[in-house]
Amino acid sequence: MTFRHYLLQLLRDVRSQKLRTFLTLFGIVWGTAAVTLMLAFGQGLHGKLIASIKGLGENIVIAWPSRTSKAWDGLGRGRRIRVTDEDLEKVRREVPLITRLSGEYSAWNLRFRVGRKVFIPGMSGTNAEFGVMRNLNPTTGGRFVDDADVSHRRRVVFLGDKLKSDLFGVDEAVGSEVVINGVPFVVIGVLAEKDQDSSYNNRDNDRANLPASTFKAMYNRAYVDNFVFQVAERDDAVAAKKEVIASLARTHRFDPEDTEAVGMWDTNENLEFMDTFMLGFRLFLGIVGTLTLVVGGIGVSNIMHVVVEERTKEIGLKMALGAKRRFVVGQILFETLALTAIGGVLGLGIAWTVCASFPAAAIEYVGSPVISAQVATITTGVLGLIGFLAGFFPARTAASLDPVEALRL
């Protein structure tokens, strides 16, 4: 019943001071929408960037056999390290942390021809695991190189989506022929479009993949250009790298401490950097949004101070009639929180509308803004705190009124 009294009072205030209420609400609506949208865009961008990083592959390490930089076991420095498929099979046996592994043979000088169109894209020969590690997912109707392709040395090719458009336009490519340096290959799959922010041999959308065995046989290769391995958990990568180098060091007799013999790129490092960066960035956005909301809160607080001023006599009378201080405080706090809540709901609604109607063209650049549970929780928390603080000080003023003074007005 006290609640009902508070509510009626609020409704009377709103009715009698429409413009003032509107302006007050506007500050909160604006602030809430700002916080929510900032956080939502931060999250969307984060998601977008993570997806881009993962476009290259998740928990993968890319390794390039190179030259030794230290003398070891009677052998001088500067010796070339060449890795074969057999070496990699040994690595696979010796390093149980590795969940997937593939050598990669690369070429840049082969002519791809379909009809009269000719392109010279980058291309790799790999095994079936490579497709999973590097997120080379086919569009419907296609597939990546599989184990049978490798064991039968089939002349099949998997095309990046851009390369496919260049060669075939909008026509179906799977099952068609591509002539590579005069030898016909059958297209088995086309890459599904993906975000990829980093690469080491061009973007995957502009490349082609063959079975490693076919590649080796046709282009006469014995040594991999590089190899890629994947671990189950992010944290396993550091230990796995060490063990891979140790295994190769035993095979090829080089110092396991030699960091240059086999160069490695741990893609998790990108992810870690991105996480740290995005945390900072989102914190920044959140703070900017919160400051906007604080300004709105100050507006509400001001208005409530005015309300207390205007109602000094009323509050004094209520005290004379036996209202306890907590009733007076409760009334002011209730009004403030109610105004904040209404403004907050409207602000969230606006933010939601903006996110829902966000143009797809822009999503490509900044990601899709998401009002996640986390974003909603943070906004609600900030809003509640600001509402409480905005009401607390005017309420304290009201509660400390001297009823005699107040009634004399």
Partner: protein, 242 residues
């Protein structure tokens, strides 16, 4: 007319061992505004027994209103002792003081002090709300009170839609809401024309007859005459009590 208002407050025997409802002893009130010190009350002794009808007269600025604020627990004295029903008011917490104002004291003001945005009914409901009375009981009580002051057909009216006399009746109904021990009125007829004033005086007389204790500050000789006991305040002291 006010038989229903009888609430036991009229039975002097119930109120403390010596039957005193209000005991003021050496009450002083000093206002300090910057360098200026004003002594509004300088040693007031006053005892009210339950069931008394006392008028307080005196020139403006004599300290009458201050006295009433202190008796009404709205203001605290600078010195002296105030016992209400035998309890030392100076020891009460703020919440306890609010309770005392709510349940034991009913105020009637010169300018009515009704909340303009509330109806007559809602104004009377207020003290009952503060007392924590359940909605249904509260409504019944407010209705009963407004019927008793003859405003059964005006309950839903806003104060601006009522005459001065009617507003003061609403204020009286509100003062009586929680069955107080003591009704304090500060110039209750000061803003009324003489006929409405007489009307209100009759209401007070009826309340007294019904056993209520009344302390009425007034300039109105009619009230001062009707009250069996009249206290004169001058320069912050009681100069006559008869």
């Amino acid at each position: 007319m006010f038989g229903h208002f009888g609430n036991g407050a009229g039975n002097g025997g119930k109120n403390g061992g010596n039957g005193a409802l209000v005991e003021l002893a050496g009450i002083r009130k000093v206002y300090e505004t910057g360098p200026v010190t004003v002594e509004a009350l300088s040693g007031v002794d006053l005892t009210l027994r339950a069931g008394e009808f006392v008028s307080v007269v005196g020139p403006s600025g004599s300290g009458k209103s201050t006295l009433m604020n202190i008796v009404g627990c709205l203001d605290t004295p600078t010195g002296g002792s105030y016992r209400l029903k035998g309890e030392e008011v100076g020891r009460f917490t703020l919440d306890r003081l609010a309770e005392v104002r709510n349940r034991r004291i009913g105020f009637v003001f010169q300018n009515f002090n009704l909340l303009p945005q509330l109806s007559a009914f809602e104004n009377v409901e207020l003290p009952l709300l503060f007392a924590g009375m359940a909605t249904r009981a509260r409504r019944e009580r407010a209705e009963e009170l407004l019927t008793e002051v003859g405003l059964a057909d005006r309950m839903r009216h806003k104060p601006t839609e009522l005459s001065g006399g009617q507003m003061q009746r609403v204020a009286i109904a509100r003062a009586l809401a929680c069955r107080p021990d003591l009704i304090l009125a500060d110039e209750p007829t000061g803003n009324l024309d003489s006929s409405s004033g007489r009307d209100i005086l009759h209401v007070f007389e009826d309340l007294w007859q019904a056993g209520h204790t009344l302390l009425v500050i007034t300039h109105d000789p009619a009230i001062a005459q009707r009250a069996p006991r009249s206290v004169t305040v001058e320069d912050g002291r009681i100069v006559a009590d008869n």
